[in-house]
Symmetry: C2
Subunit: 307 residues, 2 copies
């Protein structure tokens, strides 16, 4: 793999940035990868584990000679971070991000950036329930999608370079417009997360009554919800606040459908339930065929885990 950028700056050193660092290094995609994190403790951890060729205490120093600056911070602070760095960016540099919401990021970051840099929002669809600088690993993006959401009028050459970086990192890359992105992600990610958070909260209320039994007997179904609901609270708060309309739209449809199934249970309409469950099973097969999961049975213990 050949080098795509001389110098890359990662702003915010959590799961995504740390995984990007290891993946960029694995493939030799950049001459140098530097980083910055707001928290002194995160910077210290990063230095200890060799995350980034250099970690800066000042965000302006981190970005000033970078050919690519990637904002890996919660969506809610993207605008403020853009304002901080706007005066220090190299002419001709590309600014990108990894936020889960794109319309809001474009609206909050775009106005702060000077005309002589390229702004190309992006969203790697990959993650785990862990967060922080120590949670990253080079394989996170392998065979996962990364969506590029270039704003109107972006020159093709910087888009091609950013695409080359993400492909070198291991991703499949597609371009999409911001509005469409936010709707698709509301379905595949944002609404499911809110639902999982809700169910885990309900169980927690009951768990206090039944003295830990909810956790004890969590193997069936609920366990997967808790995994989803363990994701970073700050990140998710910002996702819901910034992709509000699309999320509420999908949740509205969800509630409607849930009420129909509840009614089928109440009226003992077994055929309705059976047909519905048969249809959803087919979707699972589609996902396995699309390579976004394996058909290996998951019964809650990873390779390094239990046995």
């Amino acid at each position: 793999m050949s080098q795509v950028y001389d110098r890359v700056a990662l702003i915010g050193l959590g799961l995504i940035a740390s995984s990007m660092f290891w993946a960029i290094k694995r493939a030799g995609l950049a001459g140098e990868v530097v980083g910055y994190a707001r928290s002194a403790k995160t910077r210290e951890t990063a230095r200890e584990i060799g995350l980034c060729d250099q970690v800066y205490d000042d965000i302006k120093d981190a970005v000033k000679d970078a050919d690519l600056v990637v904002l890996c911070v919660p969506v809610g602070v993207m605008g403020a971070v853009a304002a901080e760095i706007s005066g220090s960016l190299k002419v001709g540099a590309t600014v990108s991000d990894v936020g889960s919401v794109k319309q809001d990021v474009i609206q909050s970051v775009g106005p702060h950036l000077p005309d002589n840099v390229h702004f190309i929002p992006a969203h790697p669809i990959a993650g785990t329930e862990h967060s922080g600088p120590q949670s990253g690993f080079a394989e996170l993006f392998d065979n996962r999608w990364c969506l590029l959401v270039p704003v109107e009028g972006t020159a093709p050459e910087p888009v091609a370079k950013l695409r080359a970086l993400w492909e070198g990192i291991g991703s499949n890359v597609e371009e999409m417009d911001a509005e469409h992105h936010d709707l698709v992600l509301a379905v595949t990610s944002h609404a499911p997360h809110l639902i999982a958070y809700t169910m885990v909260g309900v169980a927690d209320d009951l768990g206090r009554v039944t003295d830990g039994e909810v956790i004890k007997y969590s193997a069936a179904g609920f366990r997967d919800f808790t995994r989803i609901a363990a994701s970073d609270p700050t990140m998710w708060r910002d996702v819901f606040l910034t992709n509000k309309e699309a999320t509420l739209e999908i949740l509205g449809r969800f509630t409607e459908e849930l009420f129909a199934l509840q009614r089928a249970i109440r009226t003992e309409d077994g055929d309705h339930l059976f047909d519905y469950f048969t249809r959803t099973r087919a979707i699972r097969r589609g996902i396995v065929e699309a390579g976004q999961d394996t058909s290996d049975a998951d019964f809650g213990r990873g390779p390094k885990g239990g046995k």
Copy 2:
């Protein structure tokens, strides 16, 4: 491990029965394990893969000399199966089951059984999204809970034997009353399954619009829902119809809580969202500490899978 029963009969040869067979054999817990399935195709598959020491074409032959008969059929047909075998059971035999609902099983099976057998309902809390005779494996129950739900007046000795079998299979065993069981499972399993089915159905409706994108970009959150929603439709239809009250009660609480979170999104109450998500994250830690999952990051590819 020493032998607990001379002869065990497994009725219904799906995921649970086939896993029980391999686990019983692994530990040498029975002299002989025989089986029966209603479908000729399932019986043929079982014979081909060596599932059961003998597979019978007639359910009465399968149970007649068995010391333990385990009903591994959907909850909705337990009563009919009990009626079929009741005249062929050996005096002093134990009849058990593996259904996910216990009050309904007790009501539908109990009245068919003669007084000279012991009826001890059970529920191993373990499973995968796969079904059928080829889906079983000996490790399924390792370190998972198996709940015994003896009806009032059951003699202690046959309960102790059934416990010894499940412990030999690898499970941790506890006793619980049927009503309590059905409520706890509604929280940890039944409601989460219905919610996952619902979300996958909603996504499917939208997927037709967005031309497969829902599947394509399923890595984040939605993927785990599809896994849950891929479970056996017959089994789950029966679960909801037979644990109707508890499931509807939990779904009512869920909807209430979901509306509160939707309202927090609509009114942009970020603190409410953040506090809620922080609380649910702690529950995940409880589950990992309770040994019901590992803390290994799950990013959708098993050890044998993708890479």
